[in-house]
Symmetry: C2
Subunit: 298 residues, 2 copies
């Protein structure tokens, strides 16, 4: 079942529906665009967070960097940076593969749809013109028949009239003939326009409009298929980054696993031990043993 | 190798390092807290986006909802809502399992560390007091030795003096004996304080401070292990939601796959076909056949 045969008299509904289809596609594009903006903001905030917590200068000389618990912290922060990078990839892919692609498609289809409906309206207009011509010729035929009838009755009446001159009768008969002839011509003209109109109408309803409606159906189905693909891409872009995000998480886990508390205790020892011995006992200083005796020693 | 033996003379460095450890833990908590805020903002924006694109009222009666391409759109939007829900789960888990847990741990450790260093300072003070006592007793012993020396020399000199009375000589000898006796007492007191100090010093350097430093080492290693666990949770929370996010993506893909363009074309037909036949040919209206003849027919 196609639109050409089943919806032959639903020009307006087809017009509305095909517009609805384009609006739906634009609505989806807008939805995705807003999602990419959210994604980019998220990635940016994560990047800023990372920047805030990574050291500004080369820390290789900092004693802090000798502790694996600190290195692990830096590693976790760096992996978050890569994670943010993957969110940017998602945003970019959504933008190019959905927003840009489908927007382009919508613009193309808007033109195509416009052409089809213009065609349709033109055909409608032509049929209307054909109908007007038919109606005009019909009215003319009717009028000419009435006139012919009247002229004939007038001639007959005059023929029966005892007071009428033969000239008058002749004139009246000629008029009747003339009117009859005109009615005959109008009839032929009307018949001709009728034949033309019936042909035009048949062509319109059985060929032109079905073709136009079927082209619109094909166009709308094409649009629907593109939209379906667009829906698919929405989840695909997320799935594509999952393995790489998984690697970020692996990196974070490895950083956690690398933390060795005993190692860091040893690092502190290495950094700060003096190597000195602990003080031993203080000696007794015997002031009762004199250092020098004076002259009384002699 | 432990701090008690290797870093026996590095009180300040141990104080600094244990503070550094607590600061690092607080820095990590702050980092994670800021991450959860970013995550919550992200989820909120996604939720708002979903709310914006889902219909406000029950659309079951809307003709729009009969088209599978539209239902698929709604389904994709709903799955994004669930996706946002998972981001909220991540934020919540990070907050409870890392921020709240580790903050509590830091507060406890701050108290514990404070007690240890108070202990250390008290022990240091006691040793200093013991040393002061030793120094005082030594100075007294020294002074008393000098006095005894002087008194003995004075007595000897008087003994040799021809002009001195026996009474003076006797007095001088008694004074010398007295001073000698006092010096002997000071010596014993000094010896006693020396013994005490050496005992205190040995206790300080070989027992008390090592114990305190080792407790601090154990405390710091305990903190490091908790920090290590905290690093692990950072990636774990993300991994935990991956399967459920996968289901959201499956849902989106199913929605995409459910789009059938031919089906929607038929829906339009069902909604709008009139069932009427297309117009047939228009008949010829022959006005040349009069409907009624007037009196001229008789």
């Amino acid at each position: 079942m196609d639109w050409g045969t089943e919806l032959w008299d639903q020009f307006d509904d087809i017009e509305r529906h095909t517009q609805w289809g384009l609006d739906l596609m634009e609505k989806y594009v807008k939805f995705v665009k807003e999602r990419t903006e959210i994604e980019q903001a998220y990635a940016k905030q994560l990047r800023n967070l990372v920047k805030k917590y990574l050291p500004k200068r080369n820390t290789r000389e900092d004693p802090e960097s000798k502790f694996c618990q600190y290195q692990a912290f830096l590693q976790v922060v760096k992996e978050l940076n890569d994670f943010a990078g993957q969110r940017e990839v998602v945003a970019e892919n959504l933008m190019t593969q959905i927003c840009m692609e489908l927007s382009k498609h919508v613009q193309e289809l808007k033109q195509e749809r416009k052409l089809h409906f213009q065609e349709g309206r033109r055909a409608q207009q032509q049929l209307e013109n054909s109908f007007k011509q038919l109606e005009n010729s019909k009215r003319k035929f009717e009028r000419d028949c009435r006139e012919a009838e009247k002229a004939m009755l007038a001639a007959e009446k005059l023929d029966q009239d005892l007071n009428a001159t033969k000239a008058d009768v002749e004139k009246a008969k000629q008029q009747a003939n003339l009117r009859s002839h005109m009615a005959e011509e109008s009839k032929n003209e009307y018949a001709s326009f009728l034949q033309k109109f019936n042909r035009d109408q048949s062509q319109f309803y059985f060929l032109e409009m079905p073709q136009t409606f079927n082209k619109l159906q094909e166009m709308d189905e094409r649009r629907t298929v593109r939209l379906k693909e667009g829906y698919g891409v929405f989840s695909e872009t997320e799935r594509q980054v999952m393995p790489i995000i998984g690697k970020c998480l692996d990196g974070m886990k490895a950083a956690a696993d690398s933390v060795n508390e005993k190692n860091d205790s040893q690092v502190l020892i290495e950094l700060h031990k003096s190597g000195f011995e602990r003080p031993g006992d203080v000696d007794f200083e015997d002031f009762s043993q004199p250092i020098n005796r004076t002259s009384s020693d002699s």
